[in-house]
């Protein structure tokens, strides 16, 4: 990458962040709610992107982890405990369960693994629904408080949006660091060729479990934001369809690309809202749009960009080669 290209990227990043901070100041409550939902879903999708995009393990349980996080937050904060404590519990719990759920991944792959995680997703839903003593069952938990952050109340929509955006920022930085660390490279090696990864001395067993556990923990983090966002949770939002939605976000955005979940969540959360003006047709149009996108580019939106950049680079390299060749031929 050229130095100029790098500056352009930094400038673009700063502009996007500034826009995310400044533009919503004029939004109404509905707009802020949808944007907050986008940040929460992006965090959950980032977790799945680590498991699926970087480590190559298909998981249909991410929605269940969001549910675990949400219930941890709802149960603890309605009992007067701070959200940060719930966050800790959610991370530890989801990490541990994700680690255990990773074991089948050591033996089975692809759709077999999808079935195993699907079973877990159903199990979690049944627990949310039937263990009344803990989760209040089908009645759900209401009046979930929004947290105070550094002495500032986040009850109003705008402060809560900034709280969600800040959380997304922290998670993004951590993820950025992780995938550039030797761990991240090990995850990619695992996805590309597990046998070669093993021959290079990567403990594939440990890294598979780790990818599952960290990805799941991020689902839990998203859940601890989801509960105070809606201020009421019941088991319905955390059924299998959320896991499928998250899977779609990762694939549509571009699985294995850092910014894939951001775009994927944008499409899954915002596109149906933009299409609502078509009344009864909006879900159909949304489905058609997603199908067309995936037919055109099975690697998602960032796949299109990636293809374009690769083509441009190839063309530039060919041009350079042609010039070099002609020089060689004309050389005395």
């Amino acid at each position: 990458m050229t130095a100029i290209g790098k500056y352009w990227r930094i400038a673009l990043g700063v502009a996007v962040i500034a826009a995310l901070i400044i533009v919503p100041m004029n939004f109404n409550r509905y707009g802020l709610y949808i944007l907050s939902q986008w940040t929460v879903m992006t965090i959950a999708a980032m977790g799945l992107n680590l498991t699926l995009g970087y480590a190559g393990q298909v998981s249909l349980a991410q929605g269940a982890f969001v549910g675990i996080g949400a219930y941890a937050a709802a149960i603890m904060t309605t009992q007067g405990m701070p959200l940060i404590a719930a966050l800790g519990v959610a991370i530890v719990l989801c990490f541990a369960i994700g680690w255990i759920l990773g074991y089948p991944a050591l033996r089975v792959q692809h759709h077999y693994l999808a079935f195993v995680t699907l079973a877990f997703s159903t199990l979690a839903f049944l627990v949310f629904r039937n263990e009344d003593w803990l989760t209040k069952g089908i009645y759900g938990i209401s009046n979930i408080p929004r947290p105070n952050v550094l002495g500032f109340a986040t009850n109003r929509p705008l402060p809560f949006y900034y709280f969600c955006l800040g959380s997304l920022g922290i998670v993004s930085l951590a993820m950025w660091w992780l995938i550039r660390s030797p761990w991240g490279r090990a995850f990619v090696a695992l996805r590309e060729n597990p046998v070669r990864a093993l021959s290079l001395g990567i403990d594939t067993r440990r890294y598979t479990l780790m990818a599952f556990a960290i990805g799941s923990a991020l689902g839990g983090v998203a859940g601890t934001l989801y509960a105070p966002l809606t201020q009421y949770i019941d088991p319905v939002p955390f059924n299998l369809s959320l896991s499928l939605d998250l899977l779609m976000m990762v694939i549509v955005g571009g699985s294995g690309f850092f910014f894939g979940p951001f775009l994927g969540a944008m499409i899954a959360v915002l596109l149906p809202e933009w299409l609502r003006f078509t009344q009864g047709y909006y879900l159909m149009l949304y489905a058609v749009a997603v199908m067309l996108l995936l037919i055109y580019s099975p690697t998602g939106i960032l796949g299109i960009l990636d293809r374009y950049l690769t083509e441009r680079r190839t063309k530039a390299a060919s041009a350079l080669r042609a010039v070099a060749k002609s020089r060689l031929e004309t050389a005395p």
Partner: protein, 378 residues
């Protein structure tokens, strides 16, 4: 002269503005389950609303102003319902209509209350109106009103000492189950079997075997319509002789159509049904079938009634005043004689719950027969 022209212009502007204010449509916002698990609920509700608005507008509207409604889809998901209600409230509607799922009502009612907008909804869970929300109103009996009537009937008329309960495990089924279990305790009626089932369940063989093994004096069935039909068939197949009692869903027309002979003998309390032996309800049913080509369930009625609640309350106030709306509706009695759209006389109490006639019906040879009319309490 000049000042005269000026005054004339001013007068013209003011009167034009007033005329515009009078003629501007009254904006209502509906958020309902138009897709997802509750699509039947939401679409019936929506069609009921549209039918009522069409009727009212055809007759010149409310206080000379037309009604106008926007429908938004909650996808049967409380999180989405919250977003849509927020969007609706941002547009400052006169009244908020919906949702139909109790969970979605629970997540949205604080928002409407905070905005000071009245919410007329279809949820039946008992607890919705127990929290002191002054802006929330029902369109039908809550379970806390209907279940005591059913329990009383089981005790007084059937003289049952033990009852098996079959319920669908969602907020509707569980809510009803919890209320009736408490009522049974008051009469010292034993719960012989307590069976939770899934929405959409196809096979009730195991559940019915358990009921048979428990040998209760009566069976209380609280499932959705299609599942009610399936369990009725299975109960007949396994020759369960105990009386079958339910509420609204067990004895509806759809169940009779689906279950055929197996529905005979089923009885239940019916608060709101198009099968009610009331002329105005029958007329509503005809109008609905003519427009939409299917028989509505009770949610169609709820949507229709919600609009007539808006009409009657506004006419009582004599002006369109969103702030005073809830205050006026509390304690209001709307008589079917003066407002036929309300179908039956109804009174709204301080909590937003309703008091209205109810019916005890039994299916005899594939037809609903009203055994008792349970009068309005006040």
């Amino acid at each position: 002269m000049r000042s005269g022209i000026f005054a004339g212009l001013l007068l013209a502007t003011v009167s034009a503005a007033t005329a515009f204010a009078q003629g501007a449509p009254i904006k209502l916002a509906d958020v309902a389950e138009l897709s997802g698990g509750g699509a039947t609920v939401g679409n019936n509700w929506k069609n009921g609303i549209d039918l009522a608005i069409e009727e009212i507008n055809a007759k010149g509207g409310v206080l000379g102003r037309k009604l106008e409604v926007t429908h938004a889809d909650s996808q049967s998901n409380p999180g989405v319902a919250r977003a849509q209600v927020q969007k609706a409230l941002d547009n400052e509607p006169y009244v908020l209509l919906g949702p139909g799922y109790s969970g979605s009502v629970k997540v949205t009612s604080p928002l409407a209350a905070e905005a000071g907008i009245t919410q007329i909804m279809g949820g039946e869970a008992a607890e919705l109106t127990q929290g002191g929300n002054k802006f929330l109103f029902r369109t039908s009996f809550g379970q806390q009103s209907s279940m005591p009537k059913v329990a009383k009937y089981i005790n007084d008329e059937l003289k049952a000492k033990s009852v098996a309960i079959v319920w669908v495990n969602n907020d509707f089924g569980k809510g009803g189950r919890d209320v009736i279990t408490k009522e049974f305790a008051k009469y010292n009626i034993k719960v012989a079997a307590d069976l939770s089932t899934e929405a959409g369940q196809a096979d009730f063989a195991a559940d019915v075997s358990k009921i048979k093994a428990a040998a209760p004096d009566a069976v209380f069935v609280y499932l959705n319509e299609e599942e009610s039909a399936r369990i009725l068939k299975e109960l007949k197949r396994q020759a369960v002789a105990a009386p079958l009692v339910g509420e609204t869903t067990l004895v509806g027309q759809k169940v009779v159509e689906l279950a055929g002979d197996a529905a005979n003998g089923a009885r239940g309390h019916v608060g709101l049904t198009t099968d009610a032996p009331v002329d105005l309800v029958k007329a509503f049913r005809e109008k609905f079938v003519k427009k939409y080509n299917y028989v509505p369930d009770h949610n169609g009625l709820k949507g229709y009634l919600a609009i007539y609640m808006v009409k009657a309350t506004t006419e009582k106030m004599g002006k369109v005043d969103a702030k005073k709306f809830a205050d006026t509706l509390h304690g209001l009695t709307i008589k079917a004689a003066s407002e036929p759209g309300i179908l039956m006389d109804v009174t709204f109490d301080e909590k937003g719950d309703i008091d209205r006639q109810g019916f005890l019906v039994e299916i005899v040879e594939g037809k609903q027969v009203v055994k008792q009319v349970l009068p309005k309490l006040n």
